[in-house]
């Protein structure tokens, strides 16, 4: 078990050295593993993987096209969001304003009718 744990540590050191591109450190890690052929084989495999995984870049035309598309989508979403945020309270005010205005107009009508009846008598 302790050997397994130490293998993990050695492999980790080896991987860190590989990623850092530090050949001397890679060699030191390999020296630590020299008595364990299986561990050396795992290091070989890690080195192969490091060689296979290279940085990949998105094609330029795709990047540019997507950027434009995203900015349009972002602005659309932002404008819609802003409009909702601004108009949301206004809509509420309009509703209550209209409701109060309706009540006031009904009340004014009633008062007018009452005054008219009273003056008629």
């Amino acid at each position: 078990m302790s050997q397994r744990l130490s293998w993990e540590d050695i492999l980790q050191e080896h991987a860190d050295a590989l990623i850092a591109g530090d050949k001397a450190r890679v060699q030191r890690a390999r020296l630590l593993a020299r008595e364990f052929p299986e561990l050396l084989a795992l290091m070989d495999l890690a080195e192969e993987l490091r060689g296979v995984y290279r940085p990949v870049h998105a094609p330029h035309s795709f990047r540019a096209r997507l950027r434009q598309e995203l900015l349009r989508a972002f602005r659309r979403r932002y404008v819609v969001g802003t409009r909702k945020r601004l108009l949301g309270p206004l809509r509420t005010y309009w509703f209550w304003g209209a409701a109060i205005a309706s009540l006031l107009s009904v009340a004014a009508g009633g008062v007018g009718y009452y005054l008219h009846r009273r003056s008629a008598h």
Partner: protein
């Protein structure tokens, strides 16, 4: 903003909630990484483009959901990418259809064409085997060898401890080696240490 200082990912992400320019800067910072992540996982440039586009559209919807809980922005983004990919693979059952054609096109290095073809075949076999690994192991290899992240950072992305990542890395190599051996790869061209077990 301080003109001389490059904004951190977090600053950019917070600004990107309302500022399209900040969103564009965040996009420029991550588009290649996200594209490469999908590219290595699905093995097809067209699918990687589709997934990358979907990812950033989703990011527009989710950018306001990020909360600073000590998790790096990159971890948050890779989690979104990871979940998206898992859904995509499940929905389309694409795993069996992955094409490796052209995956290694970027490795032109001046070698003789026949050497290059042999090397490419060898690398294709290796990547094929990597793709047969469980998704978390593929993700670990990608984050380690392409992104060059530390175990602590990978742990934050994958929701595991640093020690668990170290252990997973060991088990991944062991399992990959076993698969390659059973595939007869050793008999064809393995050398030195790999034979000695």
């Amino acid at each position: 903003m301080d003109l001389g200082k490059r904004p951190s990912d977090k600053e950019l992400l917070y600004r990107a909630r309302e500022d399209p320019e900040a969103f564009a800067a965040l996009y420029e910072r991550y588009v290649d990484k996200i594209y490469a992540y999908f590219y290595y996982r699905v093995g097809d440039a067209g699918d990687a483009e589709e997934l990358t586009a979907r990812f950033f559209h989703r990011l527009i919807e989710r950018v306001h959901l990020f909360e600073d809980r000590g998790v790096p922005v990159s971890a948050w983004l890779y989690r979104i990418a990871h979940n998206m990919l898992a859904n995509w693979l499940r929905d389309r059952s694409r795993r069996a259809e992955i094409s490796l054609e052209g995956l290694l096109y970027h490795q032109a290095d001046g070698k003789r064409p026949e050497d290059h073809i042999l090397m490419q075949e060898e690398q294709e076999r290796l990547l094929e085997e990597v793709r047969r690994l469980p998704p978390d192991r593929q993700q670990l290899l990608y984050l380690k060898f392409v992104e060059g992240l530390s175990n602590a950072e990978i742990g934050r992305i994958m929701g595991r401890t640093e020690g668990a990542i170290k252990s997973l890395y060991h088990r991944t190599l062991v399992s990959l080696r076993r698969r390659l051996k059973s595939d007869g790869r050793e008999a064809e061209g393995g050398e030195g240490n790999r034979r000695s077990s």
